[in-house]
Amino acid sequence: MADYIPHTDVEVAAMLDFLGLESLEDLFAHIPAALRLSGGLDVGEGRSEPDVTAQFAHYGAANRATTTTLTCFAGAGAYDHEVPAVVRALASRSEFVTAYTPYQPEVAQGVLQALFEYQSMVSRLSGLPIANASLYDGAAALVESLNLASAATRRGRVVISAGVHPHWRAVARTFAQGTGHEIVEVPLDNGVTAWSRVDATDAAAVVVAYPNVLGVVEDVGVARDLARAHGALLVVAGDPVSAGVLRSAGSWGADVFVGEGQALGTALSFGGPYLGLFACTVDQVRRLPGRIVGESVDAEGRRAFVTTLRAREQDIRRERATSNVCTNQTLMAVTAAVQMGWLGRAGLREVATRGVRGAHYLHDALVRLDGVSAVSDQPFAREFALRLARPAAGVVEAMAERGFLAGVALDSLTGPDESVATHPEDVLVVAVTERRTRDELDAYVAALGEEVAS
């Protein structure tokens, strides 16, 4: 049995004596005996760190799909980007890792300043002036944007493009059970949102993904005009790496930007912890969910940072709060700030550009294969969707035997729902990052060609 409790038996005896108690069990004497557990927990006996490490090595070995065993072409909101040693080293500093929410700013300037820098970077990335200090993930950021829009417009109806990640929309539907929001989803046609098919009257928000789940870069201006015509807020769900080459959400006229920040320095991690990016206009700052860091001065007039606009938050507003967020994803936000610092202006552009180039190189070769066609003829960034002559899930399994994680089968995200694309079971979503070499792309084309032909 192992634990991390420093007390010796002699010390425990002395402490109990000081309290007038005879045993550790006496500490719980006021709990009714009938409630107390007899026989101990059914969780097995404790084991040493090396023993437990071996148990987890078994879990790791049982995962066939890892970035070290398969060449990764899967995306759909989670990307295999370069995270250099310097970022891993700085982000794992225990001063960041083992601190908590900066309630005492006098001893938390490290986290606070890093978050201020993070907010500054997300603001520039999104083209919007205000960014918070992170939310749980992209899906949570979407939900918070809907709640913000509802509070801002005093309306309960939201219009969401089916191009927004299917899981995010699923999460939004779940939380709408509590808020009572009506969620109207607008299907894609040829990879582009069919806005003309929806009535946006009385909408609190119009939500568009840029790029969308099929990788397509849509004309955000159409969504913006629809939002403006009906007095709704425009929410743009974006990808922070693609933002290195695409127009910013703010330049399209977005009121709110939400995004999944995993691509900024966080490993794939089987889906978490990731971080939700959230930025908005100055008009919405008092409805901003989660924490935000502001600059101020200390008693000597020195620059100092502190969490601010605290009156919005749950611990003060309680049942009148518009968000219940407390703990967020600070460590991932700090990591993102370090990763963006490492990339810099030129690096983000280069990473984004390489993704777009690699995706187009691969796409153009793949659509020449028999049994492979494009789902959409619209422009795309670093990700695209293919229609295959056989079910995509089976192709993903077969491609793994050839050393590739070939992409994400669309129906694994949507089920049979056809609002993103017809026959989603035949659609494969493929992503390319700056880590993919030409040799890997060529080998992928050859392998997929054999699989689809066979």
Partner: protein
């Protein structure tokens, strides 16, 4: 017991911290300077303009331009301005800032876990599914529940998930209910979650003993009550001894009991929420199972339920199949997804590793020593900071600075700030709201008796200063990287980005 009575092991908790203002990374930026290095790919360098229509092409994002060496220096200097558990004792009540075992860092750095894409099929991620199934079994054993979702990313997300489960349960029975009861001592996330769950909050008063007032509870109950949210031990650090009576009363009107697991670390291995009568339990794994708090997340907030709620759990859930493999399955009447993927997976893995090391006996020792430390501290400093409720506490003790305020004008906040000068993190201040000048200390089981003695002496020195020089306490802290920060200025003159700041 004093320091002398416990020989050896001097306590040290005074960090050396950076006191120079650190420029922002933007201030260190020089146009054209770079740090990044990428793989050589050989992919043809086609101009962007040939790949994307002009109307979609944006400007470069003006991120800072620094060298790798400058980046390392900057971030390292920031870390020198940051307190942490690894640096010293962090008795921040309700937050459970205990030692985070280092071996868990290596467990989650394994690319077999950290390098797995969440969209990869179950056939290729059997290790992760087995891990999640094992964790769910452990959490159910610890809470006395039958099934759980590991999707919620933090405690507050777990709360809202639990309330939606409550809602789905009642609706499936054709039962429309309007209100959820919450004690007046509850965390702020509780009422906020209730509102987002589509319910109205009815606050139940505490009695003079700091516990739920049964008369007030009965008065508040009715057929429109969906349930009650309780933390037990409650936020005052006291065990709700009449929990069975509370459970009977709430179940009696058809309501459900929701257990806020923020304080589960006080009772793990001693008493289980399921045995107390709870139907829904969320756990803050980062607290009870010591995953690092990351400066304010990531956490993890799994929700476990009794048998009548299993069919409503979020999906998909990892499940074991009869052939020994694992698969994803969505419960019949699932409320749906509450996370973009499968939850904060690496945090879940760390928590399981902690549970496996401790085992049944070790987890019970965790609760015992956490409660021992809190009671020892409460008793040790009772002369200067009396407990808000004069009875044994659980894993944390709520003390009050009211005597110091009345006699010397020294407030709880002053004590908290002065403690920073002594090398300790502050306790939680002014929470719970029902206690005047509250100082909530949670020493945790990983702090030694020597450290507790040093903390007690630091509090004694502060109490002495209150007598001889109370003014100095209003100015505290002075030895920290910055002194008291002007919070009013920050809110009035909002500067939350480099672009909003006016730099010289």
């Amino acid at each position: 017991m004093t320091h002398e009575a416990s020989p050896g092991g001097r306590a040290a908790s005074a960090p050396l911290m950076g006191r120079e203002v650190e420029p922002t990374l933007f201030e260190l930026s020089v146009p054209g300077r770079t740090a990044y290095q990428l793989r050589t790919t050989g992919v043809p360098a086609v101009p962007l303009e040939d790949l994307l229509p002009a109307e979609h092409l944006g400007e470069e994002v003006a991120l800072p331009e620094v060298s790798e060496r400058d980046l390392v220096g900057h971030v390292t200097r920031l870390t020198h301005r940051q307190f942490s558990v690894d640096l010293g004792a962090y008795p921040l009540g309700s937050c459970t800032m205990k030692y985070n075992p280092k071996f868990a860092d290596e467990i989650v750095a394994n690319p077999g876990l950290s390098g797995v894409h969440p969209g990869a099929p179950a056939s290729m991620t059997q290790g992760w599914l087995e891990l999640l199934v094992t964790l769910e079994e452990r959490l159910c054993a610890i809470t006395g529940m039958v099934a759980a979702t590991v999707q919620p990313a933090a405690g507050a997300a777990g709360e809202l998930t639990g309330l939606l489960l409550m809602r789905a349960y009642h609706r499936a029975r054709g039962d429309v209910r309007r209100r959820v009861l919450i004690p007046d001592s509850a965390h702020g996330t509780n009422p906020a979650s209730v509102t987002l769950g589509g319910y109205e909050v009815t606050t139940v008063a505490s009695n003079e003993r700091g516990l739920v007032d049964l008369d007030a509870l009965h008065a508040a109950l009715g057929p429109d009550v969906a349930g009650i949210m309780l933390t037990n031990p409650n936020t005052v650090g006291l065990f709700e001894e009449e929990i069975r009576e509370i459970a009977e009363a709430v179940h009696g009107v058809g309501g459900l009991l929701y257990y806020d697991g923020a304080n589960l670390n006080a009772i793990v291995g001693v008493v289980r929420p399921g045995d107390m009568g709870f139907d829904i339990v969320h756990m803050n794994l980062h607290k009870t199972f010591a995953t690092p708090h990351g400066g304010g997340g990531p956490g993890a907030g799994p929700v476990a339920v009794s048998s009548r709620l299993v069919d409503f759990l979020p999906g998909p859930r990892a499940v074991a199949q009869s052939d020994g493999t694992y698969a994803w399955a969505t419960p019949a009447h699932s409320i749906g997804r509450v996370h973009g993927w499968h939850g904060n997976a690496l945090v879940l893995a760390r928590a399981l590793a902690y549970i496996e090391v401790h085992g049944a006996e070790g987890l019970t020792r965790v609760a015992q020593h956490a409660v021992l430390n809190a009671n020892w501290l409460r008793r040790r400093v009772a002369d200067i900071l009396p407990a808000a409720y004069a009875r044994p506490c659980m894993h944390e003790c709520v003390l009050t600075a009211t005597p110091l305020k009345r006699a010397y004008g020294v407030r709880g906040l002053d004590v908290a700030k002065a403690l920073l000068e002594e090398g300790f993190h502050s306790p939680t201040v002014y929470f719970p709201l029902i206690v005047d000048e509250a100082l909530m200390f949670e020493p945790t089981e990983t702090e030694s008796p020597q450290t507790l003695e040093a903390l007690a002496r630091a509090l004694e020195r502060i109490a002495q200063r209150a007598v001889v020089d109370p003014e100095s306490l209003h100015r505290a802290p002075q030895s920290t990287p910055v002194s008291r920060v002007d919070e009013a200025l920050a809110a009035r003159h909002l500067v939350t980005t480099e672009d909003a700041a006016s730099r010289q």
